[in-house]
Every structure is written in structure tokens, then in C-alpha cells.
């Protein structure tokens, strides 16, 4: 038994069906690998706001079950909804970011069905008049979509709605447990047009959407936490569509579509036309859950006590002005002068939510004469590998932009090795309260480059003696052994020397001994 209710595709309207047919014909030419495939998505996002959609209880639903539950959340008689305006603001931001037409007047409707984790017997959603309509999100080749042209994926609507509670079923009895913490958590549902013709494009869309809403602070959009839930509608060759429910990662989206495509094609070959079904995905294969009802009877009714949501054009304009830069703008900016980052590095910064951090470090490096790219290299290629789960969130507090900028400068000045810089990073990640400067830390932990030239030459000679075989292999042309030797020297010098200097000395010594270039 699934918890999620069957949803209509995309809404119960004949005109949308026509669009579907039209787009299918327009698309088939370009298809090579998946001829006749067409997908649309329905994505639920939990909004990043501290209060529930219609009550004042907290939204931290991972707490002890039923610890964040108000009188309204459990639908006690006589309780009434109070709209969380912050949730409206977040929905508005999402709508603006996805180029939607904001509706100056939207309203709330009740969608009825009985379920134990749906306390009121209805979900408040926006069926008749959603907050936003007719948007699009542009997929670019760099988003790893198929082909070398951009694709505008149409958005039918964005609606605000309540989440349900969570049911857990006991394995050893017929007991069911209900946690109402998630009840009434604010969600937006995003419904796309059936504009996706490749499984990879669907994956790229989900990934892009995820980065987008994270970047603008609308949702944390973590699949594992249930903050993002994806349903995919799939049809082949204009046949009936089937809906795969609750896909839990980009990978699952891509592979479930591929699998469903094959299934529908096989059915077609057998001469059994595909009939509309609700499907599941277990990570390996499509599970057929139940036939889709012809028309779902949700008895929608405009909520009789929630006033319409009126948004003045001025207010919408204000939100537009206050929008942070969107990911595509940031990627363009990062990949062009003066940043000139490689696209993949820029995307990595974005994915980890570290673009702002990067900008701050660059600002601190402004008068150093160092290229901004250097800061990106440090973050993407050195620091990210050191981060534990979710530690990217504390990075800017622990390794403040000033500290990172200092370390980058000191490394250039040969005062601090990168190796010891990373030791400092790791120390700070574990001790974010330490407020000392990089200088003070270098002093306290004796990390300053202190190895003088003669000492360094001595260490290098020693390493060449100890690892003669490696040195010989290098001399014989196996260049990779050079870095091994550098590493050995750094280790013996306890990192208190600059790699550049080590390379120079080693290079000279090897040249003297083996006459190599």
C-alpha cells in the first residue's frame, strides 16, 4: 500500500492532452535511442521554513515522533488554519526562478481522501487557482542533457500544499504507527509539461531543479530526507501513460524511465496496449502497483475559510528584485573572466553550495595578485576531499574566507606548505570555535616552513638514498616516481617546507646523479 495518493496528469484537462499529442509528433524526429518516449515530472519539494503551512508548529520533522504537532495539525474540532507567509514567499521565489506567470489571485482548495496520516480527511492544495502557471526551466548542454542544444522544459503549474503525516507499519503485527510531525509541512508541487524525450534529460532536469531551489534557499531538496520527491509519467509512441511514484534520486529517475520504456515497448510488441498504471521502482525494476482509476474522485472544494491569496504586482516585483543570482548566471560568471574557472569546477562549487564562500575568499585575495582560480582550486581539489558529511555547511564558519585567503597567500610566499594548510583546515573543521588567526595557529602548532636550504638538501639526499630504486626508475623514464619522492621529502620535513622548493632541489640532485632531464 502506498502512502502517496494517485495524482492526475498533469491536471484533469483535455487541453493538456492535446498539447501532449502535439509535442510528441514534434519530437520524434530527433529521437534516436528512445524513439517515441515522452516523460513529464511531478516534483514535491518541502519548503525551507521554520513553521508549518497552516499552523505555528515547528517543521523539524526528524524530531521525536509527534513532538511538533499543533491542535490544527491533528485536525481537532474547532481549529482553523493560519497561513505561513514565509512559505508563500518561498513558493514565489521558486516560481520566479522558473519563469512562471505569478497569479495575483490564487486560492486554496481541499482535496478529500481518507487516510490515517491525513488527519482532516483532506489535503489543502491549490487545485483551481495555483500560485504560478506557465513557466519553464532551460536545460543546457552543460547540464548534461542529451544533444548540444538547449531545451526549455515547460512547467504547467506550481502549487502550494500540505504534506501528509508518516505511517509506519509494524512487521510483526497489523499495527500502524502515525507520526504527525510531517503533517501540514509546506510543500510546493511542480508539474512539468511532457517535454522530456530522454531519460538522461529527465535526470538532468531533476538535478538542475535541485541545485536551483537549494541555491535560492527555497528547499534543502535532499532526496534522503524526503525533502524532494519525484514522480515520473512515461508514455511510449503516444500510448497511455504510466506514473512511476516516489523516485528517490537522479539515478533512479534515469534508470526507472529506461526500464519503463523497455517494458512499454515490450507490451506494445506483444500487441497488448499499455494501460494506465501506477508504478513503483525498487532500484532495479518497475513494480506494477495498481491500475489508475479513470477519474479520481477527490471532491475538490474551495476552502471555505481560507481567504484568497492576493499578491500585488508591487510585492511580486519586490521579491524579484531581492532574488539571489540563479545558478546559470553564477556558472556564466564563474566560467568567464576574471574567474575563468573550468565549468566542472564552477558546477562543483555550486553543487556544494560554496559559490558564496568562493566569492568571499576571492575578495580577501583581491590585493594579493593571485588569480581567483587559485581559490577555486584549493576549495574544489583540496578542501572538498577533507569534508565529512554535511561539513560543507560549517566550512565558511570554521575556515573563514580570511583564513583560507591567508593560507593561500602564505603558501605562495613559501611560508606554509599546502600539506600543513590542509592540517589546519582539518583542525578547524573539528574545532570551529577556535578563533585564532592562521598566523597564530601556525605559531601554536609549529607549522611554519622552517626547513632551511642546507637542511632541505640533506633531507632530499637522504630520501634519494633510502628510495634508490624509485630514483632509478624515475631516471629510467618513469616520471611518476618524482611525485613519490617529493612526498617522501615532505613527510621527512614534516611538511614545513614548500613543495616548489622541494621539487627544485630534487630536480637538481637527480640531474646531478643520473644526468636526466
Amino acid at each position: 500500500m502506498t502512502l502517496r495518493m494517485a495524482r492526475k496528469w498533469p491536471i484533469n484537462s483535455c487541453s493538456l492532452r492535446v498539447t501532449w499529442e502535439f509535442k510528441r509528433l514534434a519530437s520524434t524526429k530527433a529521437d534516436v535511442k528512445y524513439p517515441g518516449l515522452k516523460c513529464g515530472l511531478e516534483i514535491h519539494l518541502q519548503l525551507k521554513t521554520s513553521k508549518k503551512l497552516f499552523s505555528a508548529s515547528q517543521t523539524s520533522f526528524q524530531d521525536t515522533p509527534n513532538s511538533n504537532v499543533s491542535l490544527y495539525d491533528v485536525a481537532l474540532p474547532g481549529t482553523q488554519p493560519q497561513l505561513n507567509h514565509h512559505a508563500v514567499l518561498l513558493a514565489l521565489k521558486a516560481a520566479i526562478a522558473m519563469n512562471c506567470k505569478i497569479q495575483n489571485r490564487s486560492s486554496f482548495d481541499r482535496k478529500h481522501y481518507f487516510y490515517a496520516d491525513q488527519p482532516a480527511g483532506y489535503q489543502i492544495t491549490q487545485f483551481y487557482n495555483p500560485i504560478a502557471k506557465d513557466g519553464y526551466l532551460r536545460l543546457l548542454p552543460r547540464d548534461r542533457r542529451i544533444g548540444d542544444k538547449p531545451l526549455d522544459v515547460g512547467l504547467v503549474q506550481i502549487q502550494l500544499e500540505q504534506d501528509t503525516g508518516k505511517s509506519t507499519y509494524a512487521v510483526d503485527s497489523d499495527a500502524a504507527y502515525i507520526d504527525f510531525n510531517r503533517t501540514n509541512h509546506p510543500l510546493i508541487e511542480i508539474v512539468t509539461a511532457p517535454d522530456l524525450y530522454y531519460p538522461e534529460d529527465a535526470g538532468a532536469f531533476v538535478h538542475k531543479l535541485q541545485l536551483l531551489v537549494k541555491q535560492i534557499g527555497v528547499s534543502s531538496a535532499q532526496f534522503q530526507a524526503g525533502e524532494m520527491r519525484v514522480d515520473v509519467n512515461v508514455s511510449v509512441n503516444g500510448g497511455q501513460r504510466c506514473e512511476i511514484k516516489n523516485l528517490a534520486s537522479v539515478h533512479d529517475v534515469v534508470h526507472a524511465i529506461k526500464s519503463e520504456y523497455k517494458r512499454q515497448l515490450a507490451e506494445e510488441k506483444k500487441g497488448t496496449p499499455v494501460t494506465s498504471h501506477t508504478l513503483g521502482w525498487d532500484g532495479k525494476q518497475i513494480l506494477i502497483q495498481r491500475p489508475k482509476e479513470q477519474t479520481s474522485e477527490y471532491r475538490y472544494i474551495p476552502d471555505p475559510e481560507l481567504p484568497p491569496l492576493l499578491l500585488s504586482p508591487d510585492a511580486v516585483e519586490k521579491v524579484k528584485q531581492s532574488m539571489p543570482k540563479l545558478p546559470d548566471v553564477l556558472l556564466d560568471e564563474l566560467s568567464s573572466s576574471p574567474h575563468s574557472l573550468r565549468m566542472v569546477d564552477a558546477q562543483t562549487l555550486l553543487k556544494w553550495g560554496l559559490v558564496e564562500y568562493y566569492f568571499e575568499v576571492v575578495e580577501k585575495l583581491q590585493d594579493s595578485g593571485l588569480a581567483p582560480k587559485l581559490a577555486a582550486n584549493w576549495i574544489v581539489h583540496h578542501i572538498l576531499g577533507l569534508l565529512g558529511p554535511n561539513e560543507e555547511e560549517i566550512l565558511s564558519v570554521a575556515v573563514t574566507p580570511q583564513r583560507l585567503a591567508d593560507m593561500i597567500k602564505y603558501e605562495r610566499d613559501a611560508r606554509l606548505s599546502k600539506m600543513n594548510a590542509m592540517n589546519i583546515v582539518q583542525y578547524l573543521l573539528h574545532t570551529p570555535d577556535d578563533s585564532r588567526t592562521v598566523d597564530e595557529l601556525m605559531e601554536a602548532f609549529d607549522l611554519k616552513n622552517s626547513t632551511d636550504q642546507s637542511e632541505l638538501v640533506g633531507i632530499c639526499e637522504n630520501v634519494l638514498k633510502e628510495h634508490e630504486d624509485a630514483a632509478e626508475k624515475y631516471a629510467a623514464g618513469k616520471k611518476g616516481f618524482f611525485n613519490f619522492l617529493v612526498g617522501m621529502v615532505m613527510k621527512q620535513a614534516a611538511g614545513k617546507c614548500s613543495v616548489k622548493e622541494v621539487r627544485k632541489v630534487l630536480d637538481e640532485l637527480l640531474e646531478q646523479r643520473y644526468d636526466v632531464k
Binding site: 474540532p77 490515517a116 480527511g121 471532491r299 472544494i301 481567504p307
Partner: protein, 494 residues
């Protein structure tokens, strides 16, 4: 008389009459009540309670108003043992004004009914008829009966389509439904929110007014509570209209559509006499027409059950309230396979009238019917509101464009009509009604004001022969509550 002495009169009346009248279905502990009354007598204004408007008044609440004391049953098996963890806003307001609660009043189950016969506690009886059982009217029958039998000073009811006015008319007391949205509904169990209004029952208009002033306040917990800004505008208008310099002679409309065929001679005579008296007192009478109100009854019976079906979906036995011994009807494997978990609970927990209205409401909301029924009904409702706006001299402060009336139209300050087609019927008569529709038609005179959200009050006027009373209804423009109370008071004195 001291507060305690006055309170004891009510307690004595409860003790002697409630077993027969069934007006109250739960009582607060008598010792607690007495000590509260005593405390108010003894208190020499240390906490300012002497200045409190309801000081020492005894109050009962319809049992769909949530209180942390006692149960809040809605006269339904579904909530027979339900204890609310919180107070309705109005309960706190009344307590802060130093009234003393005596108990909870009988009602039609979930406020659905016209004769208060749909209650698990047995129908309350009308105190005006000691020898033969007569209905109190519904759904706030217990509230009206308690006031009529002097079991309390003031009773709180709820009025969705006439549920305070009709029982007041039948029981010979005053029943007031204020403008929609003035009194908080937080903690008032919903029947049909777009119509539900807290109402006040008392033996005179003065007591109603005092209570109204206590309750007429913005409540942020109620999304339909009228905003402080609009309240300020309404107050300003009321102040200027009731200033000593403004005229106390009014233009009174007689709505021809309210002269329905089913009006009994006794009601018609009382209406005519009231109008004649008003004219003799210097007011002007005008015949007016509200053509859309002829559709008010079917409109009401589409909107209210639809909202009710939605509101009552929460009663599933999972979190609170009644739950059937058996979840599934095991003899019906289809039902079990379908996952119909709550059928038994809801069938056994709700009474026949509630079940009927849920079915009616769900039908009207179903995909095939909603556009033709519910959406259409909302349009007709809008027409009804426009009809009233056209007739009243005052503008509707909620309407976006003012003065929808053309210059040639007659406009009036108030409308005066009967509140019910007849005086209270006998219990036997209503229990032997063939069709539920027989009860629904009684609402024909009260639902127009509910659909329009305008203030309406029923005041008792003695019937010919003097034995019985007839409820005369006064309706005014939205927000004109103070003047409606004023003219009602005058009618009672005529």
C-alpha cells in the same frame, strides 16, 4: 439581589426543570459555580472585575463550543466523550468579562437540524409549552430553551442558516446572528464555515448587546475574522449613525419574497401588527423585492452540506472520538479490500441527519456535479448578496464597488420579516414528518441573511391572544449590527 442569589435562581431552575426540558446536556460542578459567584460578590474590585460587563451573568454554551472543562459533544455519538484540550476564543472572552458558566446546551447533532430532534441526548422541550411537548427549534434549541426557562442569563449558540434565530423565535426569546466574521470561530466546531456565525440568545436585547460587545473583537486565530482596519471603519460608521443628532426614524423594508404561502395566520398577523406599530412610531414602510432570495433555500442546501461533508471528514476514529468495535465489515470482502477503514465508525458515530447531509454534500462535490451544483450555488449566493446591497441605503463595506443601487430604487435601513412560518410545532408533529424536506422549508426565512452574511435578529412579539409569541426578524446591512440591535429593542417595546 446579590450575584449569588441571582445565580442560585438559575441553578434552581436547572435542578427543577432540566430533567424534563433537556436544555442542558452537561453541567459544571455546582460547588465550583457557587464559589465563582460568591467570589464575584465578595470581590471589592481588587482585580477590576466590578467593571467587567458580564460580571456575575450566568452563561451556557452550545455544545459545539470547545471548553477545557466538561465535554464538547456536538450532541453526537462521535464526540460523546470528547474533551477539548483548549478553549474557544469566545470562552476566554466571556470568562475574562467575569461571566460564570453553568454548562453546555443541547443542540442538533453538529448543528444540523431545524427542530433539535437530532441529538443523542433526546430533543429539548420548549419551556413555553408546559403541558404539551413542543419543539424548541434548532439547531441551538438547548441554548434558547435554557434562556427561556431562566436557567441562565445568556446563551451562546451558532447560526449557520437560522440556528439561533429560529429557536429564539420558537422559545420566545431574543436570538441574534451578527455580521459574519465579527465574532471569532476559533474553537467553534465547524459545520459550514462560510456561513457559521456565533449567535447570542437572551431574554432582552440589552443582554444580547452586552455580550456582543464582549465578543466583537478581532482574533488572529480565525482566518475569517474581520480585520482591525475594517472594524475601525465599521465602528466609525456606527458611531456617526447612532450619534444623538442622527435621525431615529428609519425607512423599513417589507420584503415581498418573505410573504411565503406557508406563513401561518398567527405569524402573518403578528408581522402586520409589528409593521403597523412601527409606522405609528414614525418609521416609514416600503415594500421591497429581493428576487434572488427565492433561490436562497436550495442554494443553502447545496453549500452548507458540501462544506459539512468536508469538515466532518476528520471524524474517523483514529485520533479522537468514537470508533466502531469493528473497523471493517468483515462480511463485505470488497469493502475490506478497498481499504474502507472508517465506514463502520462513521456509520455508527453519526446520526441519520448528519449522514444524510454528508451524502448530499459529497454528491454535490463529486466531479460530475460540482460545476452544476456547488459552483452554481456560489453564484446564486453572490446574487443574493447583491440583492441586499441594492436594497440597503448603507453601502456594503465588503463590496469592492460602492453604491450598486440605482437612484430610482427604493432603499431602506432595515428589513422586517417573520423569522419562522409558524410558531413552535409539537414534538409529535415534527417526529412524524414524512420527509426531511418538511424541516428544511422552515429555513426559508432565515437563510437569506446567512448567505449574505448580514446581521439578523429575532425578537419575540406576542401572538394574537397573548399566549404564544412570534419571532419577528430584523435584518440590516453588513456591519450595521448596532442599529439592528437598536430597532430590535424598539420593536420589543412597541
Amino acid at each position: 439581589m446579590s450575584i449569588l442569589q441571582e445565580g442560585r435562581v438559575c441553578l434552581r431552575n436547572i435542578a427543577s426543570q432540566n430533567a424534563r426540558l433537556r436544555a442542558l446536556i452537561s453541567l459544571r460542578d455546582e460547588e465550583t459555580v457557587v464559589s465563582e459567584l460568591q467570589a464575584l460578590d465578595n470581590n471589592s474590585s481588587g482585580d477590576g472585575s466590578r467593571k467587567q460587563p458580564l460580571r456575575g451573568k450566568t452563561v451556557v454554551l452550545k455544545d459545539n463550543i470547545c471548553t477545557t472543562w466538561g465535554t464538547t459533544t456536538c450532541a453526537s455519538r462521535m464526540l460523546e466523550n470528547y474533551k477539548s484540550p483548549y478553549n474557544a476564543t469566545i470562552v476566554d472572552q466571556i470568562a475574562a468579562a467575569k461571566a460564570v458558566f453553568l454548562g453546555k446546551a443541547n443542540m442538533d447533532e453538529f448543528a444540523m437540524g431545524t427542530d433539535n430532534i437530532h441529538t443523542i441526548y433526546g430533543p429539548p422541550l420548549n419551556p413555553l409549552f408546559p403541558s404539551e411537548a413542543h419543539t424548541t427549534g434548532g439547531s441551538s434549541g438547548g441554548s434558547a430553551a435554557a434562556v427561556a426557562a431562566h436557567m441562565c442569563d445568556i446563551a451562546i449558540g451558532t447560526d449557520t442558516g437560522g440556528s439561533v434565530r429560529l429557536p429564539a423565535a420558537y422559545c420566545g426569546v431574543v436570538g441574534f446572528k451578527p455580521s459574519y466574521g465579527l465574532i471569532s470561530r476559533w474553537g467553534v466546531v465547524a459545520f459550514a464555515q462560510s456561513l457559521d456565525t456565533v449567535g447570542i440568545v437572551a431574554r432582552d436585547v440589552g443582554a444580547v448587546r452586552t455580550m456582543f460587545h464582549v465578543l466583537n473583537a478581532f482574533d488572529e486565530k480565525d482566518p475569517t475574522s474581520i480585520s482591525p482596519a475594517l472594524r475601525a471603519r465599521l465602528r466609525q460608521r456606527a458611531d456617526s449613525l447612532t450619534s444623538p443628532s442622527s435621525s431615529s426614524k428609519f425607512r423599513i423594508g417589507i420584503p415581498s419574497e418573505f410573504n411565503v404561502d406557508s406563513l401561518s395566520p398567527v405569524v402573518k398577523e403578528a408581522w402586520k401588527r409589528t409593521l403597523a406599530n412601527l409606522r405609528a412610531a414614525g418609521h416609514e414602510l416600503y415594500s421591497v423585492s429581493l428576487p434572488s432570495t427565492v433561490n436562497a433555500l436550495p442554494t443553502y442546501y447545496i453549500i452548507a452540506p458540501a462544506e459539512a461533508a468536508s469538515n466532518l471528514a476528520r471524524y474517523d476514529g483514529v485520533r479522537f472520538g468514537f470508533r466502531s468495535e469493528v473497523d471493517y465489515d468483515t462480511s463485505d470482502p470488497a469493502a475490506a479490500a478497498d481499504g474502507v477503514l472508517y465506514g463502520r465508525t462513521r456509520s455508527e458515530g453519526f446520526g441519520t441527519e448528519v449522514r444524510r447531509r454528508i451524502l448530499l454534500g459529497n454528491y454535490n462535490l463529486s466531479a460530475g456535479a460540482i460545476v452544476n451544483h456547488y459552483i452554481q450555488a456560489q453564484r446564486v449566493r453572490r446574487l443574493t448578496q447583491l440583492d441586499f446591497d441594492r436594497i440597503f441605503t448603507l453601502d456594503n463595506p465588503l463590496a469592492p464597488s460602492s453604491s450598486s443601487s440605482s437612484d430610482s430604487d427604493v432603499t431602506v435601513d432595515f428589513l422586517v420579516s417573520p423569522c419562522s412560518t409558524d410558531t413552535a410545532p409539537t414534538l409529535d408533529d415534527v417526529l412524524t414528518q414524512k420527509s426531511p424536506l418538511d424541516a428544511y422549508v422552515n429555513d426559508v426565512l432565515t437563510v437569506p441573511a446567512s448567505l449574505a452574511g448580514i446581521p439578523a435578529i429575532s425578537v419575540p412579539v406576542s401572538a394574537e391572544g397573548g399566549e404564544r409569541t412570534v419571532g419577528i426578524q430584523v435584518m440590516g446591512q453588513y456591519g450595521d449590527d448596532e442599529r439592528v440591535l437598536g430597532i430590535a429593542e424598539e420593536i420589543m417595546k412597541l
